[in-house]
Subunit: 526 residues, 2 copies
Amino acid sequence: MVNWNNLDTLKSYEALTKVSRVDLVSVMSGESGAERVKKYQVPMAAGLSFNYASREVDDETLKALSELAKEAQLSEKFEALYNGEVINTGEKRLVLHQLTRGQLGNKVVSDGVDKREFYLSEQKKIAAFADKVHAGEITNENGEKFTTVVQIGIGGSDLGPRAMYLALENWAKKNGCFKMEAKFISNVDPDDASAVLGSIDVSHSIFILVSKSGTTLETLTNESFVTDALKKAGLNPSKHMIAVTSQTSPLAKSDSYLQAFFMDDYIGGRYSSTSGVGGAVLSLAFGPDIFARFLDGAAAEDKLAAESDVSKNPAMLDALIGVYERNVLGYDATAVLPYSQALSRFPAHLQQLDMESNGKSVNRFGEPIDYVTGPIIFGEPGTNGQHSFYQLLHQGTDIVPLQFIGFKNSQIGNDVDIQGSTSQQKLCANVAAQIVAFACGKKDENLNKNFKGGRPSSIIIGDELTPEALGALLSHFENKVMFQGFVWNINSFDQEGVQLGKVLAKKVLAHETDGALSEYAKLLNI
Amino acid sequence: MVNWNNLDTLKSYEALTKVSRVDLVSVMSGESGAERVKKYQVPMAAGLSFNYASREVDDETLKALSELAKEAQLSEKFEALYNGEVINTGEKRLVLHQLTRGQLGNKVVSDGVDKREFYLSEQKKIAAFADKVHAGEITNENGEKFTTVVQIGIGGSDLGPRAMYLALENWAKKNGCFKMEAKFISNVDPDDASAVLGSIDVSHSIFILVSKSGTTLETLTNESFVTDALKKAGLNPSKHMIAVTSQTSPLAKSDSYLQAFFMDDYIGGRYSSTSGVGGAVLSLAFGPDIFARFLDGAAAEDKLAAESDVSKNPAMLDALIGVYERNVLGYDATAVLPYSQALSRFPAHLQQLDMESNGKSVNRFGEPIDYVTGPIIFGEPGTNGQHSFYQLLHQGTDIVPLQFIGFKNSQIGNDVDIQGSTSQQKLCANVAAQIVAFACGKKDENLNKNFKGGRPSSIIIGDELTPEALGALLSHFENKVMFQGFVWNINSFDQEGVQLGKVLAKKVLAHETDGALSEYAKLLNI
């Protein structure tokens, strides 16, 4: 049995608040710094490794964090989760996204269905469908091959799949497995759908309608937008559209789609990239084998998250250090900084993953809590960010912990040698330099040119951003967020905070408003 | 004469810390809320208006802010700036970006040159060049028209121009003034340049190399990348490339370019969208007339910023309320939330503009300060953000002030009527609903479904995102950042915090490292 207790009731947390503060400038300088870089790293899946030498921890802090992990029963809670307990208590649901890519524990049966078998069978159905599209067995009305796939979805049905597609697009082109270009329609702003439709040849496009409930207003609106466009082009929408939804949704049995693929309520939107939500678009774009390799990377990383020895569990370690930074050191935000253009939208995905999961003020029993929870997450790829907001990160009045990601090799492999180094070497040199600049700073008598240092960061390093590495990266952050939710004793798997806005928007559209809302509606001409 | 004093030495600031706290839930409910929405708004240029009814202020707060504006001499400081005083004291430079779009005060002469005339003449040179390209008078080696323009630049040479291009791309297509597609190469990651080059027809592409100093490593590296690609395609790079740089840069007199256009040290990178840095790419993409309309919008908004009555000066008002939120109320971040897909990269531009300008810990005399300065800036377009990080904004443990932007009409004008409303109406209904949901909240006995409210926001509302409206928006935020820098007594126009990373990266590339830096370099295979 696991015990769910608030963080501030744990003895190990009180102990953590009393550990000696690490002076990064001092410990990261000279030989001590070199030793830390060699010592404070842990292997991840797919050849990645997590190096936390420049986080504000030492052996004493890590021991205290390890005690916290034990008292908070992080491993036991993860075990309960992957063995199918009702972890999403608010919505009374299991939490099974890890099961879309592997089986960590016992068979999970719900309503008589082996859930691993269910997810696998949907993955296979998608694979078979994608193979037929690629082989020209499923075509448009004129018997011509589809060349473009367009995902219609919002939130978790958009951000994760889009970030994953962009992450592998160039890799797939380079490695001869680029099958179809993918586009995404998400916003209810009509200009979003108009612009995407204007940029493609609809007669050779297949659309994926993604909505678990089948009732997401933005997505249904954009479906209409697309079906209108298809009809105007003299095409039959039902021959150009598939659905990814739950079996109980109104979309599931509609004959408006070529085929429907299923997920269920146990896969939260922001955790759905490894389900059919990511599976359909990625399998169509790159082929089912590439999607399977992506899942393999995630599954391998999940296994490491199930390791009870904190020092061998990168996600748990990252989570615990993050809690220390947020609750003890008082840092309010975390920046995600991938030195990889392919990961340009990965921070936007993590922004949803983290902030929607852990931006909560009540514990899992609906009681108020007296400590801060999820931080603000933001980020852009390096080196671009260096020429943008790094000024504040280096010399601003607040300290922002940083999560770097870097790869030894580029995806495409084209490069140019200028001033004695390649672009890839310059990219890697910059991320190495930034970590040390943030940690150690540099004294200058002119305080405007002075760098205080003491600004913590960690880095995940890989050989190359492959499908496996991407899966491992995704799993790492999903599990980090999950462990932090466990520590904070909150439910990371619901999102009640998005409801009120929806209710009020409906009132505006029904002209059932008064007071301020009525005046704002007037100003906006509704 | 203006006096430069730290914020915490001002009597009006002390008074501001003592004003009664506004209870947003209470004042924004019922008739009082409706009155506030009507009362707390101020017209901007280009038909925009700034509504701050849902910010945490009332007449008492506003009076205190107005006193602060007077004591901090905000109008006098702006006047000194636009009349050509050395406001960027760290680098001993004038600050003249407003002069690229209009003349607010006296003639500004530097080194015998009338700077307004200089910026205008460069704008005209660019216009003449763009007209010749569009007319087919300047062509590729085969006498064929250029169809694509590619900007090579990073930071301010990338984020602003890219955001502006995306903001007007669909508008230009709809309004028959779309001349050339634009692409952007920024990151030193070789996959960035490779991917862009792989997506265009280089033989019909014209490249704009943008670097004020002519020494930006990323940009010069990417220039080589491009010239290599042009040579491999049998093309003459000097017939495909122009430069935007300063007259003293090594690029200025090079014969590697069709033509060079100039800016100077008085235009900071993040303030350069209205100079040749934005001018070349926007004039080529949409035509010089559209760029001129964008400048007109910015110039008109600048005029409002020069208004000494705070209640008629949207940028100053926004700045002052932001200082109150940051320094008195203790809010650490601000989210920018445009309900317009066209503004998808506008938050990324504002992130640089704000965080690089005001992420400082010393005052303009290089002395340490004892109060917080620039906040973290992040954001994504609505309604997408609603399905991502709004959970934390509504129910997280920290309060984040919000800056909404909305337009009554879409740019393209295609729309679809579903469930009794158009997409544009749904978009506008959502932003209205969010403002009230954040301000007023909603009580629920189930605390997991309870919304505390009290979360401040403002909104800029316009008819449509036109070139003029975009210019006004840009100017608003540039001037807001400037006024906040004045209040904090910092230099918003240098960026010494970006230097250390550059120095250390060079050491890594030269293999002149030891300690932690050497170990990180090894891990990254450099």
